[in-house]
Each structure stands twice: as C-alpha cells, then as structure tokens.
Subunit: 204 residues, 2 copies
Amino acid sequence: MNAASSAQERIRDAAVRLFAERGVASVNVRELAQAAGVARGTIYNNVDSPEEIFSDVAARLANEMHERVVLSFDLIDDPAHRLSNGVRFFARRAHEEPHWGRFILRFAFSNASLQGMWAGPPARDLKTGLDTGRYNFAPSQLTAVISMVAGAGLSAMFLVTEGHKSWREAGSDSAELLLSALGVPKAQAHDIAHRPLPPLPELK
Amino acid sequence: MNAASSAQERIRDAAVRLFAERGVASVNVRELAQAAGVARGTIYNNVDSPEEIFSDVAARLANEMHERVVLSFDLIDDPAHRLSNGVRFFARRAHEEPHWGRFILRFAFSNASLQGMWAGPPARDLKTGLDTGRYNFAPSQLTAVISMVAGAGLSAMFLVTEGHKSWREAGSDSAELLLSALGVPKAQAHDIAHRPLPPLPELK
DNA sequence: CTTAATTTGAACATATGTGTTCAAATGGTC
DNA sequence: GACCATTTGAACACATATGTTCAAATTAAG
C-alpha cells in the first residue's frame, strides 16, 4: 500500500507540473507517465481517467492549502493580520513551489475547487472584521470584498511567478494594498503587512 | 474578400465561445467548424493550425478592448475616474458578452496578450496619478498596484460571470475598493465609482 | 450572364491517443 | 526464502484527430 500510494503521489506531483505548464487537455497519459517516472500501465492501474486526475489534484491542492492556512491562524486573532498573512502565504509558496503557483494561477477562475479555496476561508473573517469595526466598507460590498481578496492573492502570486517581484515585496505590497482597500489605516496596514511571516504549518 | 473575412470572423467568434467554455486543447477542428457553421475544410483554408487560432483570437480580443477603453478616456482627465471606468467597462462587458468574459477569465494569467492588456494601459495613468498626488502609495509599490488593478478587474468579472452580483454592483464595488486601496478617500472613491458609465466607443 | 473567388464535403493517408490485457520483473513482509 | 501485491512494458484493438486533395456547389462582382 505504501508503494502504491507512492506511485499515486508521483503521478499527482507530475500532473501538477504538467497541467501548470501546458493546460489540462494537452497532456496525454504517455507524457504523464514519463514525467512521473512510472510505466504507462501504472497510470491506468491507479487512476480512472486523465480528466479525473485533474479534478483530484485541484481538489487536494486547494484543500491542503486551505487547511494549512487555517492552522496557521490558531494564534492570530486580528482579522486584518490573518488576511495579510494569508495573502503572503500564497505569495511565498508561489516562490517556493513554482509549479504549485502556476497551477493555481492557470485554473483559479475555471476550477470549482480552486474557486472555493478563495471564497470560503476569508468570508467569515471578513464578516467579523467588519462587525468589530476593524474594516470600513459597506456590508453590501462583502461579496465584492471576498472576490477582491482572491484578486489580490492571485495578483501577488502572478508577480512572483513572472519574476516581477520577490515574494516578500509582492506579498507585503499586495497585503498592504488590500488592507487599505478594506479601510485599514495606511500606517497600520503597512505595519501588519510587514510583520515576520511564520512558516506554513505542516499537516503531519 | 468579404466572404472570406466573414468566414474568418465566424470562425474566430466560435473559437472564443468554445475556448471559453472548454479550454484550448480540448477543442478540435470538427467541433470548431460546426460551431462556426462552416465546413471543416474552410478552417484549413483560412487558418494554419488550431493553436494559432487561439493566439490570434486572444491577441485581437485584448487589442480591441484595449483600444476601445483608451478611446473612452478621451474626455476624462482624472486618473482615478479613468481607472474606475476601466474596471467597470470590463464588468459590464462580461455581462453583455458572457463568452468574452469567460474567455478572459480563463486565460487571464496564462496568455501573454491578455497579460499585456492589464499591464499596459493602467501603468502610465497610475504613475501620473501618483505624481499628481491623486493617489497615495509608495512608488516602489507601483508594480504591485498594476497587478492589483488586474486582480480587481478580474474579480469584478468573476462576480458577474458567476452570477454573484449584477455588473453594476460588481463594477462599482470593485472600482471603489480599488480606489480605496490606492489612497483615494472613501467618499470620493464611492462617488467616482458610481458615476454614469458611458458606452464603450466602437472602433468603426 | 459570365467570370473569378471561395466554400463545401467527402475521401484519403497518417498520426496520435485511449483503454485493456497479461506474463514477467520487482520489492516489501512475515 | 517463500509469499503477495504492485509495477512494468509490450501488444492489441479501437477511436479520434490532423492535414491534404479535389471536383462540385455556392457566392460575389463586373
């Protein structure tokens, strides 16, 4: 079972890489097998269809990141600080794992799992931040704010992926701008966005 | 030559629709011909390869929107007003031409032409807005701001495309939040983002 | 009406991909 | 070292895509 799950992992890792670079449908099983360092038959042994690999990989990737980010919020109460760290986590990881970043960027707006990753986590924090006066925007704008958070996260990742900025700058700048958009005073926003960024907790 | 360009147009229109819904590589020539209401041979007569259709369509689409938005700025001096209108144009058009919107969302981060559409136009306006004191952010953040503009535009389109908000709300909310991020006072940002939005000029 | 240009749709050869099967090789476990 | 699960890689049938060719039909233009 260990060998099998290892093969599955290698297939999934290779899938992330290939899908990130070349899109979904242009990847065939032969290439995937080669990239995974695995025989073609092994793909068919472990997976139903190439299409399914994509959904699976996207869902796992979204879920894993979501859980780790939520874990990291354990010791942080301030919604603004949480939000800032969230954006910066994405920027830093886009730097550390380029395939991961490109995958998310490429499919951010067209895959349901990835859409959920952005829509879910910030929603509650944004609401509490709004209710406690931490933020300053109209309640009717909440939906737009949620999707703005996604936009800020993605644009930070984009800067990193394209090499326009270091992950530090991209993450902090984007986080600061985002907090400003939500009505956090500039000086505070700057401070929050430049605090030391803890490591992203592992899932063990 | 008129008949030929008409066939080409139908092919391109169909290509936008198909690519938007299903991605690039999963569209084959037979389907494209069918969707364009054209014989399969006609595709090969007018186009070199399916791949090329995508690049062509993306470039035209980016270029056309860019030119029309720039045209619309003729009578507007305020950089903040321009920026707000730009974002709202994208939101409105995503409503009026859903295929257009989905196409842009799907390939925004993975196609060079579309990337250029966001990076180019706002850059100069943002700089003048910064120099004239209209905005309030650090010059070193300019790059992050440019990509934030893209993020705001895309997230507005996303709201429209997914039916979460009307184009009016999505456009105005996103524009207002964006201006807030750039340091425009809240009341002003709100006002600017809710001014009547002129029609997007045609290219004649 | 005539002429030129374009489109049509079928036929063809070629290439590539999928999905299945299976005996042999591999590798971990008691 | 015997056992079991997994992986391997080749072979197979089948399906689908590409790209080309071409005579007939259609359309546009003078």
